[in-house]
Symmetry: C2
Subunit: 428 residues, 2 copies
Amino acid sequence: MTQAVRHDSMRARNLGVVLGEVRRSGPVTRAALAEMTGLTKTTVSKMVADLLAAGMVTETGVPSRGERGRPGTAVALSGGRVAALGLEINVDYLSACVVDLTLEVRLRRAQAVDNRAASPVETLRHLRELAREAVDEVRSMGLVVAGSTLAVPGPVDDGLVHSAPNLGWRDVHVGELLDDLLAPSGPPFPPAIAAGTTTGAATTGATTGGTAAGDPAGPAGPAPVPLPTVDNEANLAALGELWFGSGHRDFLHVSGEIGIGAGLVVGGALFRGSHGLAGELGHVVVFPDGPPCRCGGRGCLEQYAGQEALLRAAGAGTVEELTGRLRDGDAAALTACERAGHALGLALTSAVHLFDPGTIVLGGVFAPLFPWISGAVRETTAARLAAIRDAVPDLAVSRLGGDAATLGAAGQVIHRIIADPVAHLAAT
Amino acid sequence: MTQAVRHDSMRARNLGVVLGEVRRSGPVTRAALAEMTGLTKTTVSKMVADLLAAGMVTETGVPSRGERGRPGTAVALSGGRVAALGLEINVDYLSACVVDLTLEVRLRRAQAVDNRAASPVETLRHLRELAREAVDEVRSMGLVVAGSTLAVPGPVDDGLVHSAPNLGWRDVHVGELLDDLLAPSGPPFPPAIAAGTTTGAATTGATTGGTAAGDPAGPAGPAPVPLPTVDNEANLAALGELWFGSGHRDFLHVSGEIGIGAGLVVGGALFRGSHGLAGELGHVVVFPDGPPCRCGGRGCLEQYAGQEALLRAAGAGTVEELTGRLRDGDAAALTACERAGHALGLALTSAVHLFDPGTIVLGGVFAPLFPWISGAVRETTAARLAAIRDAVPDLAVSRLGGDAATLGAAGQVIHRIIADPVAHLAAT
């Protein structure tokens, strides 16, 4: 028994090692994989056969670079079967994206909706519909959604959102609510890694092969929507920037929405703090005697550079209207951005002193506003940091903008599957 | 050759594993060590013999707890030979301590001196004398100082202090200066782990045994002072709190000196940021339009709660005078502490939002001032954090006060020796 358990856990570890090596080095031959991993060729061949059957890798005619002798058949990650669903609830929109195992984005959907006017259950019902449409749509591409992560605009602790003041949420147990909403509409799903099969036989060992041979877009009823894990929007946006952005591995990503969050990545790893609640840049104190904030404090950054504060100061109704006015040189709009940039610069000065980040990447609504906001940010941070720091961190604009969190959410599922393919195989 | 290298690195790793297990579990028998580490009894016995010869472990008659059968001879860390020197340069004092391998503090020395009035070289000369006295004094206890770390009040990058504005230092290469100061007075020292022998034969393989048999307090001239590695005071103070303090493993340690630094420990590990410059709490912006700071900014925390600002506001000359007045209920002193506490509370609010720490530990001059400063800190942080955070971090006082950095400096050397005893053995 102990022997069997050891064998199973060793197989699980080795399968993760092989798949990880395929991701880093693929396309790569089985012989090269054996050399890289220190496993026998027989073991590698068995693992590759399992991964092929699960649709996680594919065989290509291309030999691995630097391979000596006759070109063998190489193995690469397959973008054709396993996929992940990224979801986001924000104050004024819902969004979804589907990413395949090679991290290619296969679908994006966004829906403008004022979630403050809705109850958490109503918002989650909307989200369920969006998720269901996304899962159904990628099924026609042959993709099976194997798992999902949901980004919410507030700190999250094991599916529980203690407080998302901009949504009006307080102690909302998103995990439990989603469980109730999703469970009746299909077969039961294990948490995090959900059933990725179109038949009802989700728990039999033969299903992997069966699904591989079957038609994923077949007539077996609607595909199940996996139960998502829930995480903080700012953390997931930083991971989105890490995996889908400009390639930095040391940066502070600032998510400008109605709230302002930040995610710190050091050496390619997300810093989460002691309770997973780090990076609440929007509530850094900028002017201690300033206007009251929904968090209970006063003069928080959000009151000067959050989307609503900024639009109010500029007298604009939407970010599109604001950017239009800025392009036209509207004085009120320009002043509002300059003041927001100064406040953001003050909060970032404190953040640089505490976090010591690499580059600073401005995302969310700060991405379209970057041309008008970055000057004041740079001026304020340089004036306060240049004399004591050898280098003031570069300020860059996110190319992902508002999509960062949804992409990070889907990417997190893919990274978990690649790190632990056995958990995925067991579920399918 | 490759085989030999592999064998050496395996021996090095195993020696670290065995010594680490002795630290965690000692006193412990060789048989128990073999079981814990998965090494053969023969290998463990050889390693223990090497560690005994180096004076790093000692044999005791006490059997390991839970050991079955007849009590064997147990092995424990030895506090009798290997020691580490912790040093600190701060604005108004120099200090030194020596800690043995069991982390027992064997010597403490502090010297009040205004280092702003001195050049870096003069300050380092003072420090050299303090270090030499400490090394000589513990030699009479049979201790050999195997390495040293120096704490300085500013960010450090590979021995270079870019800017310690409170010391008036700018681009001071402490490592190189110390090299020049220490090198002529004894045999050459490898960096970080220095020669811990009283004979000149520092590089021969036989020295370990020779030193073990020799008299460390013998007549072979003055003991060499090892060349210290240089690190930031606030980081080392946090490590001092971790290893010598109240046993927390998740906390933000605040070092109140003339400058104010902080060190964040998450899960027992120090957070250093992307360039090792994290935790500069003293320059977090509290009142953006406040008085200019030596860092080039305005309204930094240091301008309200730094030792000089606090004494000036209270009209006191020294911290001792201030605490005396506070005990007497002096109104100006009480108001000064309350204002400093409010400013500290504002900066800590920002730090909690960004870092998400466990407990907050106030050290340095905030330790003796804790009874008069903590009320305002708690009030300010609670008012701004309680509505959005599930729990406001506890506020605690450091029992180490101003000794934290010097202790952390010495502890860092001990932890490095235990993690890599071969580097130490090679040097002795």
